[in-house]
Symmetry: C2
Subunit: 151 residues, 2 copies
């Protein structure tokens, strides 16, 4: 019985230590976004807003499993750097891609697309968005068929 106790303490200690050192989400969640252009739970946090020196915005977006943005396009394009979890990314007329932690997606100006979490896993990404050509153009929600499609 003592051994069980020792192993329980060891298990707890290892997990706590790893958690304290490097685990858990990298970024605080920031403010929960109102469900205007997405389905599910999404948190957005701006790391820098564009100005005359840094002519691009940088944000962290955190999606709960199942959450996804509406179809949209960026007049200046956008680069997504996936830092946690597993998500979907789809451009109009192309198959849905699975994107994972460590991967990078470059979305060119004007390309209609959507991104979000998979049904089973949340996803977090850093987005950098050139600001010189204007803000995101929102289109229409992703249909259930599009979201659940295997293609």
């Amino acid at each position: 019985m003592k051994r069980v106790l020792y192993f329980s303490i060891l298990l707890f200690a290892v997990l706590s230590n790893r958690a304290a050192a490097q685990e858990g989400p990298i970024f605080p969640k920031g403010e929960k976004s109102p469900n205007v252009h997405h389905v599910g739970n999404v948190w957005l946090r701006e790391l820098n807003s564009p100005d005359s020196v840094f002519t691009y915005g940088t944000s962290v977006a955190i999606f709960d499993a199942g959450a996804r943005l509406d179809w949209h396009s960026h007049p200046g394009g956008q680069i997504l750097i996936i830092t946690e979890g597993i998500g979907y990314y789809q451009e109009k007329g192309k198959p849905k891609q699975i994107v994972r932690r460590g991967e990078v997606v470059k979305c060119l100006p004007g390309v209609e697309h959507w991104h979000g979490a998979t049904p089973e896993s949340g996803v977090t990404y850093i987005a950098t968005s050139p600001s010189q050509n204007g803000k995101t153009i929102w289109l229409h929600p992703v249909s259930k068929e599009e979201y659940n499609s295997k293609k």
Copy 2:
């Protein structure tokens, strides 16, 4: 004794599962940088190079514990997003800061500074660098006194 075995299996299973899911480095190391402008082991990987659409470069830099860049400045400035570990960041005439996973540093154009890992922990960051005003200007190595200073 059986219980010890069960707990060992549980411990192994929990750790393996966590490792497979989300742990280990986010980004592959890329190419090890030759020691021209830094001390210690540094790996640099370009995520995008600047072009007419994305007028900033994005790179991942991975530093082993103890590694640090020379003093330098960026004609266009730079934003650092710490994704793993613990590092140092210092601007000329200011105290050395400790920067941790999840933190963001905005370095303005022309400001002399250096960054790197702490002696005990490696650090990884994503750097975005506006390209329009030219490349990094390298100055001189960080002295041992500067690196080890508590200020």
